[in-house]
Assembly symmetry: C2
Homo-oligomer: 161 residues x 2
Amino acid sequence: MTSKTTPSPVLNSDQLLEHWQGHRALTRRVIEAFPEEAFFNHRIGGMRSFSDMCKELIAIAGPGMKEIAGGPVKSMNEDLDLGTEKKNFLDAWDETTEIINREWKKVSKDRFQEVIVNFGLYETPVWGAILYYIDNEIHHRGQAYVYLRDLGIEPPNFWER
Amino acid sequence: MTSKTTPSPVLNSDQLLEHWQGHRALTRRVIEAFPEEAFFNHRIGGMRSFSDMCKELIAIAGPGMKEIAGGPVKSMNEDLDLGTEKKNFLDAWDETTEIINREWKKVSKDRFQEVIVNFGLYETPVWGAILYYIDNEIHHRGQAYVYLRDLGIEPPNFWER
């Protein structure tokens, strides 16, 4: 039991993993919704293509999770060689799903409140790192929704995970 | 102490409140970044103006928090009379900030794992309701970033809260 002066825990690790993977499943459907060429070329206002945003998301999630699980601290590398086919991105996405599930099991119960220097740059408690990964994905996926609407394509429902 | 078979708590209520209000502070700066007219009129691909999205966010956060804190279950009302000046939206935003801080203090430590029927429609644990409010705000704010870029305006940094 927590004492009366300790703030209450909000959610547990199983719930956070399911929440994260639910968001990642939705983002996967957003990648699928893009026409092959638009995934690599469509842009608004000088922003990146959604494929470039996805490189960032893939560069963060798997390597970030490995570091959280006790792996070595490495700098972030968004310059991924994923070619010019959506299929490669979907494969990398699915590989990341497996990495997250596998590494998650190695995370001890006290780890979430430990402070790390994620990617050797970002000082944050582990819970904050994971929420940042999720929030950053939602942020860029929201942008992808505008790209899809601009292309005349109905995006997947935001609330379906 | 939790037993070994109980999944670990990830973050506590104080941390979640600070996380949420940090996001809300960023969204407030995004509202401020819009030119007065574009806030009400700029659209891409048949989507809503950011002012209409903000009505949704304001309709969710304060009333949702009141319900979570034990207030009556009311249906959601996005049809807010906020006029055609950004100032009214910023005032409503600030009022919501105070409502959240005030109502948060009424939430008991076991409440986050209780299941509610939020707004009489959405069955969810309380932690899931709050994360949905945050996620939905990030989603629409990400869309507002595209609107701003499309208008040639540099948005506030995503990582500054």
